[in-house]
Symmetry: C2
């Protein structure tokens, strides 16, 4: 029997208890050991829980019990999660977490401690909820060079964009609906401003390329600027707008990484990832494009990923998993303005036709998008592929000729 502790009894934590207690026989068989929940750490009381006697308010009880070999951290947030996880690893306990904020901010440090102590630090649930992605990326794609990772990593924003695309709903109405359905928090900033997706692409980038990428190194834009007009122009172009987290290697060995809304062609495998679902594409030099799709959040999907990690920890108490990346460095991620992209530009002008001709002169060639019911003073164009810095440098010339730039959205390369 292996005794474990669960820190946090919120949505995911109670889900972990549910999965562990409802699948006892199959989990025992797969782990080759019975798994017993010895402690549940929470500041609240749960007198009606069948495990009421296991609750504790004291982290030290868990830390100081040498029989606890695996600790599950599902509290979320950086503090005190970071301090608790660090102490657990340092005292030789394996840790499983679903906490993307923790892994994105402190992954390299915690992986190093785990390595020194010969224990495991696993976090399958931190990206993609119930979708297996960390393990397939670290193991199955071991024989590939990863050319690019791109994904729809946040279910809340994908739900909002899907409502805008399929039901003509405004951003504000779609957000309100997402909040009503419990998909968005009352303060939705972490989702709609892209920070949640940023943490996840940092984790995937660190894993894919072996060196930590920190959230403040990734240029991050949310979806708050996306309007129904953009959605309709995207449709005219032949695609949809999705919030994408992306990372790829540049020719000089550095990374390009960004989180932003992108125009995706309709035949891309990510274009059909709708509602609260996530989809993650891994482009390998040998495998080609592999896509993982499923529910990126939710109590039971996330909990089942946590429990799969717990089972893996129990199976590997003496054999460490080779999940590891080095610490990052300041110059590791290149300036996003150096990246070469094609750009969608929507603008307002007294004479849009004239401005389109001016844009053509600036960019060499452009594609103008036309759509039904467009405002007469509005136009949208697609630029050729250029360094983003060059594209941005040309905008003042258009503004000088009377264009008011309303939005710019990058085109995907998948």
């Amino acid at each position: 029997m292996v005794k474990i502790a669960i820190m946090g009894h919120g949505t995911v934590g109670s889900g972990v208890v549910e999965v562990l207690t409802t699948h006892v026989s199959s989990i025992t068989k797969r782990a080759n050991e019975e798994i017993r929940i010895q402690y549940i750490l929470d500041l609240r009381d749960f007198p009606d829980s069948p495990l009421a006697d296991r609750f504790t308010k004291s982290f030290d009880v868990i830390l100081n019990d040498p029989e606890i070999l695996v600790v599950v951290e599902v509290m979320g947030g950086l503090h005190p999660a970071y301090d608790y996880v660090k102490q657990c690893l340092e005292s030789g306990k394996s840790v499983v977490t679903s906490n993307k904020e923790l892994v994105a901010a402190k992954g390299a440090e915690l992986l190093r401690i785990a390595q020194e102590k010969n224990v495991n630090f696993l976090f399958e649930a931190s990206v993609g909820g119930g979708i297996p992605i960390i393990r397939p990326m670290s193991q199955c794609l071991a024989a590939n060079d990863v050319i690019e990772v791109a994904g729809i990593l946040n279910g809340t924003t994908n739900f909002i964009l899907t409502k805008m695309i399929n039901e003509d709903m405004s951003f504000e109405d779609a957000l309100a609906l997402a909040q009503k359905l419990g998909y968005a928090e009352r303060n939705p900033a972490a989702d709609i401003e892209g920070h949640d997706a940023c943490r996840k692409i940092c984790i995937l980038a660190s894993l894919a390329y072996g060196k930590h990428v920190y959230p403040d190194q990734v240029h991050t834009e949310g979806i708050t600027n996306i309007t129904l007009s953009d959605v309709k122009y995207a449709d005219a172009w032949g695609g949809v707008i999705k919030l994408i987290g992306q990372v790829s290697k540049t020719s000089d060995g550095r990374l390009q990484s960004i989180v932003c809304p992108m125009l995706i062609p309709r035949d891309s495998q990510l274009a059909n990832v709708d509602d609260v679902f996530n989809g993650i594409m891994v482009r390998g030099d040998a495998t080609g494009d592999v896509v993982f799709y499923g529910k990126g959040a939710g109590k039971l999907p996330t909990a089942s990923a946590v429990v799969a990690d717990v089972i893996d920890c129990v199976k590997h108490l003496k054999a460490r998993k080779y999940l590891f990346w080095e610490d990052g460095s300041k110059e590791y991620v290149a300036d996003y303005l150096d990246n070469e992209v094609a750009m969608y530009i929507r603008f307002k002008a007294a004479n849009p036709d004239e401005l389109c001709r001016a844009a053509e002169k600036e960019f060499g060639e452009i594609t103008r998008l036309l759509r039904r019911d467009a405002e007469p003073d509005e136009a949208a164009i697609i630029t050729p592929v250029l360094a983003e810095r060059e594209i941005r440098a040309k905008l003042p010339a258009l503004e000088a000729q009377g264009a008011e730039i309303l939005n710019t959205i990058r085109l995907s390369d998948f």
Copy 2:
């Protein structure tokens, strides 16, 4: 350094050599060991290969070299692959294979020998080519009860159906094109009659439910009966026809498993899996639907999956992976005629309207599909969900009234 042998130097075998020799540093890092190809077994000569000195025509050289710890079997076919693999495992060597025929026919036996000898028998490449599916299913979904697995498992037939659906090509023309492009063999029976997909669903079913399912236990239909008329009626219904391998658990603990063309609604995640791509849906009680998508065949994708297994073997020379299933039994798979499905039925009749009314009487209620350019003596209907046995029992009554049944296609439940 770990020395390995590769049996077979065909498409996949030469791909394995290519991946191992072009990714030396990253593979060494991930395996924590240098991997050396000591022998390549092939009856042909390859004097121009940079590894020409490693070739051997004698299996015994490999078997009797105690330094060989991992053997890769990429010869294909049952014999002599089965005998070689068995002898390797019995002599304490781990084996990695891409051979779906071997795993589908002999998996339980070979896994048992591997367990007895405390070595690994891995076969990630046997299903889905470069798509990670065996490992995610056995590990990440460990905390789920698998409700159903359904997949587009054969790229050749999917290419043919895609050409029929998107380009109005006849089955015969699409097959000829597939052969011309090298997607289909000169004798395409294993693909178009569903046997290849059958082997793959057997492997996934065995893994998902822990007990071997043998190919002759799975009712298998290919795509040779699918016509452009069916494809167009499917479009009128709101979906596409795909060759699906499916398995699910029945309420009495047995399995339902089938390989056949199915009508899939357009918003299903499998409906957009086109051309030679594969897509596999795993429906878990906790995760919900998870879909894996990518190239299901081809030299480098398959080779990279083989190499990932080799790396895993090298990392786990002393710690066995818990990949296992029991032997099967005759009664384990239920009769497909007991399964409840809705059925598409296309028929010919002098007076189709009258026959549709007769069908309505037989089935209680039906949906009639109407499409442009249909033959005047042809009609297509969808039955309610009934045991397939019941549906088939009603067909003679329609035939007695003058209907000539041209095709029947099951509807998917995903």
